[in-house]
Structure formats: C-alpha cells, structure tokens
C-alpha cells in the first residue's frame, strides 16, 4: 500500500522511505548499490581475517595456530569470500550506483529484480560462513578443498558441509545472473538521447561486456556444482573414475567458468581506471575506440584459454600448444589498455588526489601481475610455476593491486558524489601509502618463494622458505589493519560533520553526466532524460 503512496511522490526528489523497510524492500538503485558496497566491505574484513590467520600460521615453520585441517578451510573460505563476496558484489554495487547516473537514466531497468539479486547474497554467504562457524564449534569440517574445489577431493572426499557450499554457489550464481541481466537491460534501453554506444563512458562499456561474460559462464558454474551435487547424493559418476567418470572433466568445466571469471573480476576495474586517469590528467582518454575493442577482444579470448590452468594434468601436446599461444595473445589487448592509460597521462596536467594515486598504483602493479601472467602462459616454465607461490603472487597482484585497487580508487572518486561530502584527503593519502608499501612487502616476496619451490596451500614449509614467509606475514598484517583507515574515512565522510561539502562537479577535470547531478546525488537520478552532446 505504502508503495502506491510513495509512487505519487516520485517526482519530489529525496523523498525517501524510512526505517528498515527502506532497505529490505528497496527498489532504488542507489540504496541497493549502497547495500552491495557495505556487504562487500563487511565480507572484505571477514575474508581478510581468514587471510591473517593463514599468514600468522605461515610466519614461522612448524604448526603454531591452526591444524592443517583448519588451515585448508581458511584458504578455501578466504578465496571464496574474496572472489564471490568482495570483488564481484562491490562491482555490482558500483554499477548500481553509477551506470544509471552515467547514462542519464532514472534508475535500473528492473528495480524489483535488483532487490532480489542483492538479498540473495546474505543468504548465500550466511550458509557458507555457517559451515565455518559449525567447524569452529566442533561440528564437522567447513569446505576444505580450495576455492577451485577440484573433484574428487570435493565430491567423494568432501566434508558434509560441501552441500551447504553447493547451495550457496547456486544462490550467488542466480544473484550474479540477475544483476547482469539488469545491467544489460539498463544499458541497452535507458541511455540518454544522443548517447550512442560509442559515446558511452568506458566504465559503462566494461560493465556491459562483463555482464555478458557473467551470463555466459555463471550457468557453467551452476552446472559443475550441480554435477557435484548429484555425484555426492544421487549416485552419479560425472567425476568419479571408479564409476566411469572423469576427474579432469571437472577441471575443464570449472575453468571454462573460471577463466572468464578472472576477467569478470578485472574488466570493471579497467573501466574505473579509464574514468579516473583522464579526470586527473585533465585530458580525454587516449584511444577510446581501441579501449572498447581491446576490452571486447579480452572478453572473447577469455573463452578460449581456460586450459592454461591445467597444463600439468597431462593434456596432449597439441592442446598445450594451442592454449599457450591463445593465452599469450591476451598480452596484446591488455598491453593496448596499459599503453592507452600511459598516453592519457602523457602531456596531461596531472594532480594526485587519492583516486589518482590508486589508479597509478593500479597501472604499475597490475602490469607486474600481467607480466607474471605472460610468464605463466609459457608451458615449459609453467611446469615450474604451477601450484606454487609464484601463482599466488601473480593472482594477488592482479586481484588485490588490480581489481581491489580499482574499487578503492572508485570509492574515493565517487564518494563525494554519493555523500555530498569530501573525504579526508590526508587520511586517504595515508591509506594509500601504507597499503601500497605493505601490499608489496606482502606479495612481492611470494614470487621468490614460488621460484624457490614452495607449493601453495601448505600449512607448513621447509626451512629455506622461512625468511620470505616471515616478511610476507609482516606485510599482511600491516596491509590488513591499514584498511581500518579506509573504514574510518568512509564513516567520517558519510557523517560529514568536519568535512568540506562537495560541489556537483567534485573534480576539476571531471566529465560526464554523473557530475551534472548535485552532490549528494538525488534519490532518483534523472527523472527526465538529460541532453547529451
């Protein structure tokens, strides 16, 4: 009933529903975006705590804090929470907030579905985290087979909680697919008059492509966990050699999802960096159309490289060669993006506010992750890197200093637009410097560990790995706790008591429709379509 009354008031800006119902029944893209962002921020601290347990255990050789069984649960849940609970939902949160504002739309195309996509997530992660809580209370084991949950370790040998995990992944998948449908529907149908595809902001473009990737591969993930479900409970043998199945089939299906997933976790950050670098260079993005083509090429290539995660499974040589060459090709469009960002900065008029600092660090550190990725594509060398800390270093460079740094940059960049208040620039810079130094202390030595022969996912190690593990652990604790600075800064900005009010433009070099709205942005974005040049 109340919904009817409120609809009457829709054209009055900032008439918000109140109380818990505002959030539970929300169909507003900003409120849902806010919930996505807070959800992922909370999950970030949960997943980060698990990472610190891992690093505490690995500080010294020997077993100190957690038994091997619990250690495996820590690595598994750390990975699952960070991938599905932090990076992906925070991108959806950013898309919710920014896509309608950037294309001149009043809201998302499918607001009720938007509500449902978000509210599936607490249920999904509740189930997953419940399995860990039960494990800590002595009731069985939480998922302990790594975030890649290879069969038969996760099927025949999986703990009872594996079925919780499967249901949880199904829910996350439904949530992601609905979120992706919503973003595609919004971008196709609700752009302001005059905003042709090739005039869309790059962030919108990268999310547009990401959404298609999600729709293509989340059902594959759902398929693989469903096969696990029937293998475990209904007597099928998809992945059991004893019943005529194939354990390697699991890896093919999983990585057919998993490799595009890697790009799902980085393309929106590419988009964010492509918004921020031009803003603080006071210059148009260099090579707009090549950016779009490069993103599309990366998305296409992501479907034909999955088996590079499986070079040691004993594939035929011809298959190994195909996947090596295809993987090496990804360096080309990725290189184009990096060159374009550098050219955007070239002969610009640069300033270095916190979002720009994170964006520059992104370009440096993501590129390092890209280089190690190229090294990993070379099959004979990959035999030495596979399943070692070199791989751990590689994917943390692309996911932490890549994807996550993109998200940090985005939060600082758009927080004044969301709240109407400037964040504390000094605290932002402290957060940046402490994080950036410690994250390298944390992850750079892992390259050395991997090259020296330390396998990943082990709770204890031989003595020659002691020094670099200790250094990495020190970096981990500093990096982990420095995120509290970000939390404090965000809360301070939202409360807005001691901060400067933001203008509509916010940043001197900012261009785009979102900056034409007042700060804070009104509850309903563009109720009449804006004019777009």
């Amino acid at each position: 009933m109340s919904a009817v009354i409120e609809e009457h008031h829709d054209d009055h800006h900032d008439h918000k529903p109140t109380g818990i119902g505002r959030w539970l029944f929300s169909t507003n893209h900003k409120d849902i975006g806010t919930m996505y962002l807070w959800f992922s921020f909370i999950m970030f601290f949960v997943g980060g705590t698990l990472a610190l347990v891992i690093r505490a255990e690995l500080f010294e050789p020997g077993l100190q804090f957690v038994e091997p069984e619990l250690f495996n649960q820590m690595t598994t849940l750390h990975g699952l929470i960070m991938v599905f609970g932090v990076i992906m939902p925070s991108f959806v949160g950013l898309a919710n907030w920014m896509v309608p504002m950037m294309i001149g739309a009043p809201d998302m195309a499918l607001p009720r579905m938007n509500n449902w996509s978000f509210w599936l997530l607490p249920g999904a992660f509740g189930l997953l985290i419940a399995s860990l809580i039960m494990s800590l209370m002595g009731m069985g084991s939480a998922p302990n087979f790594g975030w890649t949950f290879y069969a038969p370790l996760s099927t025949t040998y999986g703990p009872a909680s594996t079925d919780f995990f499967i249901f949880s992944v199904h829910m996350m998948g439904i949530s992601s697919i609905m979120g992706a449908i919503n973003i595609i529907a919004t971008i196709i149908n609700m752009r302001a008059p005059g905003m042709t595809y090739m005039k869309m902001p790059i962030f919108v473009w990268t999310w547009f492509i990401t959404a298609y990737l999600l729709i293509a591969v989340m059902p594959v993930l759902a398929g693989v966990v469903t096969m696990m479900l029937t293998d475990r409970n209904f007597g099928t043998s998809f992945f059991s050699a004893a019943g005529g199945g194939d354990p390697v089939l699991f890896q093919h299906v999983f990585w057919f999802f998993g490799h595009p997933e890697v790009y799902i976790m980085i393309l929106p950050s590419f988009g964010i960096i492509s918004q921020i670098v031009p803003t603080f260079s006071r210059k148009k993005i260099f090579g707009y159309s090549s950016m779009v083509y490069a993103t599309s090429s990366i998305a296409f290539l992501s479907f034909i490289v999955w088996a590079h995660h499986m070079f040691t499974t004993g594939m035929p040589v011809a298959t190994e060669l195909f996947f090596m060459y295809a993987t090496m090709l990804i360096a080309v469009p990725t290189g184009v993006k990096v060159f374009n960002w550098v050219s955007t900065m070239w002969r610009g008029s640069l300033t270095f506010e916190t979002p720009m600092l994170f964006a520059i660090a992104f370009i440096f550190l993501f590129t390092i992750g890209g280089f190690t990725g190229l090294m990993l594509s070379i099959v004979p060398a990959d035999f030495q890197y596979q399943d070692t800390y070199f791989v751990v270093a590689h994917f943390h460079y692309v996911l932490v200093t890549g994807a996550l740094y993109g998200i940090f940059a985005a939060v600082y960049f758009w927080l004044p637009k969301w709240t109407g208040n400037m964040y504390d620039e000094k605290l932002g810079k402290i957060h940046f410097w402490v994080s950036t130094i410690s994250v390298n202390v944390l992850f750079f030595p892992m390259h050395f560990l991997g090259l020296a022969g330390m396998p990943r996912r082990i709770p204890d190690y031989s003595l020659q790995f002691a020094e670099f593990n200790a250094i990495a652990s020190v970096g981990a604790f500093v990096f982990g706790f420095s995120q509290l600075i970000l939390l404090y800064n965000i809360i301070k900005t939202i409360r807005g008591k001691s901060t400067v009010k933001a203008t509509a433009q916010v940043w001197e070099g900012a261009e785009g429709l979102e900056w034409t709205l007042p700060s804070p942005a009104p509850f309903h974005s563009f109720t009449t379509p804006p004019t777009f040049k």
């Binding site: 060159f339 270095f352 070692t388």
Partner: protein, 370 residues
C-alpha cells in the same frame, strides 16, 4: 620471537650486504635435466623481456608523473588518438610473442617425448604418501614423511631437511632415461621435483607420463603440488640419483629385503616384537589422521583409544584395517601393507593407549582375513 629476530637480522643483513642474498633463493634454479635448463632459459628470457618492457612503460609513466604535473604549470594537450602509434603497439607485441613462442615450443616438445626410456617407475599418489613400483623389477614400496611430529609441533629443533625427508627414497641410476607413469589412488596429487622440472598430476583413473634423465649424482627433493586434503603439505618426494653400480647394489638389497619380509610373514611373532614393529607402522601409516595419542581429531578423524573397534571383536578390527571403510577417509590398508605389518599394527592398536585388550594378531590371521 626467534622469527622476529631472524627477520630483523635478515633485513639488516640485506642492507649491509647484497651478498647475503646468495643464501636465499630469489630465482628459479637451472636444475639438472636438459629440459629443466631449457625451462630455466625460457623463464629467464621472458622475465628480462618483461623487465625491458616494464622499464619503457613505467619510465614513460614516471616521466609523465614528474614532468606533466599541474603544479609545474603543465597544460593538458588536446590529442586523444594516434593511429600510427596504436598500430605499432599492437603489432610489435605480436612479434615479441612469436619470438618467445618458438623456443617455448621446442622445449615443450622435448619434455613431452617419453619414448625410448631405459626404465619405468609407476608412481601412485595416496593420501598422504607416494607409492613407487619399479616395472619389471619386482620392487615396490611406499615413501612416507619421516620428520618427527615433535619437530612439526615445535617441541624439537627442526633438522636441515625438515618436511623434505622420507623413509624410502626413489633410487635411480645416473644417465638413464627414467619414465614415470603417474596415477592417483584417491584424489589428485601432483609429483614435483623442481631440479628435474617435472611436475605432473597423479589423477585417479588416468596414467600420465613424464620422464627425466640427469648426469648429476645427488639427492633431489620435492613435494606434492596439488591440494590433496589435510596432509597435502606432508608428502614429500626424495629422489636419489646414484651411479650404475650403486643402483645395482640397491636393487639386490631391495630383493633381499623382499625375501626377508616374506619369511617374517610366516613366522609366529612375540608380543613385544609385534608391539615394537606395530608402533613403527602406526607412526608412518596411521598417525596423520588418528594422531600419536590415538585420540584422532574430534568430528574429523575418529579416536582409536577406547574405541569400540579397537577394543571389540578382533575380526572386525582386522576387516576395517584391511578393507577400509568406503565413503570415508579410512583407506584399505590390505594392498598397502604386508601381513606382518598389519598384524603388528593391529596388535599395537589393541594394546596401546590403555586399550589393553591383551589380544595378539599374527600374520597368519591377516592372511586368512584377506
């Protein structure tokens, strides 16, 4: 605390002299096989190409960060595309990649050629140990971690080969092409010895092939590289490459041991002998799950101390050890251990930790129960 001191001294040492880095490995090692050296060569080449590209790209960025800052009065230029440079930086990477792909392909083809081998060893991954079967030689054994639990639990000083030491190493002759046939008994494992650049998954239902050949006598250590459950970190690999004559001596020694083992299976053992041998078998085969105290891990691995099976009917106890329990982590030890080992083990389990049943199991009982 000691680690904190070690880190502090390490960092200060680093600052004092870069030579101290020599002790800590920063890079891959060339290894001792032809293709480990090939892999090392490609690794080094690609890494330096990346460093070169990095210097150019990061150099341009740093130059821009320093020279094109607003505070220096820089005014933004107007350009936002340039077809020529865009074509160059699309085409040049293709050429660089092709330059990398050629040697990579060559090394890979050599690695995957397992033909004309001199001998073959079947390697089977178990949770959490390796089994080696010398094909055509009638030699087969399990290789278990021997690092004492006290060292792992920090109650004793860790030895030089902490976590990289086993009871039975793989012994192979120098200068022979050794073909490995890898499979898994339960879950997927991965056999990795960095010095050989051999890493191949051991997958249930599959037989994967790999090979190595080295001219350097020595002991080479590695680990399981694929997460395979609780004790994934505790199943190392040790390969001893020995001279041809030492290898022949080792083979005949193994055969004598096999004869001795066959004899021990027919004799009647005293209780003390059974208990002593049983403890050794327990420590290598059972302790990972059921723990040295026999108390297991609550809700994960059941206790044996005071358990219905270890204090109840002997026949049932023998049955579960020999045939395992399907659907659980309890493996069938019948195929893994001989009659004397199993008899001693079960006797030990029935009499250790206050289980004092007084029962004795002889190898003949096991033979009858198989």
């Amino acid at each position: 605390m000691s680690a904190a001191i070690r880190v502090a001294s390490f960092i200060s040492l680093m600052l004092v002299s870069m030579q101290s880095w020599a002790e800590y490995q920063l890079d891959l090692r060339p290894g001792v096989t032809s293709f480990s050296q090939g892999a090392y060569g490609i690794h080094t080449m690609v890494m330096w190409i990346c460093v070169g590209i990095g210097i150019i790209v990061f150099g341009a960025m740093i130059y821009s960060i320093i020279m094109h800052r607003k505070s220096r009065g820089a005014v933004a230029a107007k350009f936002d595309d340039n077809l020529t440079v865009e074509l160059i930086w699309t085409v040049v990477p293709f050429i660089i990649l092709a330059f990398m792909a050629v040697p990579a392909t060559k090394v890979l083809l050599a690695m995957e050629d397992t033909s004309n081998s001199d001998m073959s060893i079947k390697v089977t991954g178990y949770q959490w140990k390796w089994h080696y079967d010398y094909l055509g030689e009638d030699i087969s054994f399990f290789s278990n971690l021997t690092t004492p639990i006290e060292e792992i639990q920090n109650k004793a000083t860790k030895n030089e080969h902490y976590l990289l030491e086993v009871d039975n190493a793989v012994v192979v002759p120098v200068n022979k092409k050794v073909r490995l046939l890898l499979t898994g008994n339960d879950v997927i494992h991965s056999w990795w010895v960095p010095a050989f650049a051999v890493k191949k998954d051991a997958i249930p239902g599959y037989i994967n092939e790999a090979w190595f050949k080295t001219d350097k006598i020595g002991t080479y250590r590695g680990q399981c590289a694929e997460l395979c459950g609780t004790n994934h970190g505790f199943m190392p690999i040790v390969v001893k490459v020995v001279s041809e004559s030492d290898y022949a001596a080792w083979v005949s020694g193994q055969k004598q041991q096999a004869v001795a083992a066959a004899e021990s299976a027919t004799k009647t053992w005293t209780k003390d002998e059974l208990m002593e041998h049983g403890k050794t078998v327990y420590t290598t085969s059972c302790v990972a799950c059921h723990q040295a105290s026999g108390e297991g891990i609550p809700n994960v691995f059941p206790a044996l101390k005071g358990s219905a099976i270890a204090t109840g009917d002997v026949a049932k106890h023998i049955d579960i050890v020999v045939h395992g329990k399907t659907g659980t982590a309890m493996q069938a030890f019948g195929p893994q251990l001989n009659d004397a080992d199993l008899a001693a083990l079960i006797t030990y389990e029935r009499n250790a930790w206050g289980n004092n049943t007084g029962d004795m199991v002889q190898p003949a009982d096991i033979k009858a129960a198989r």
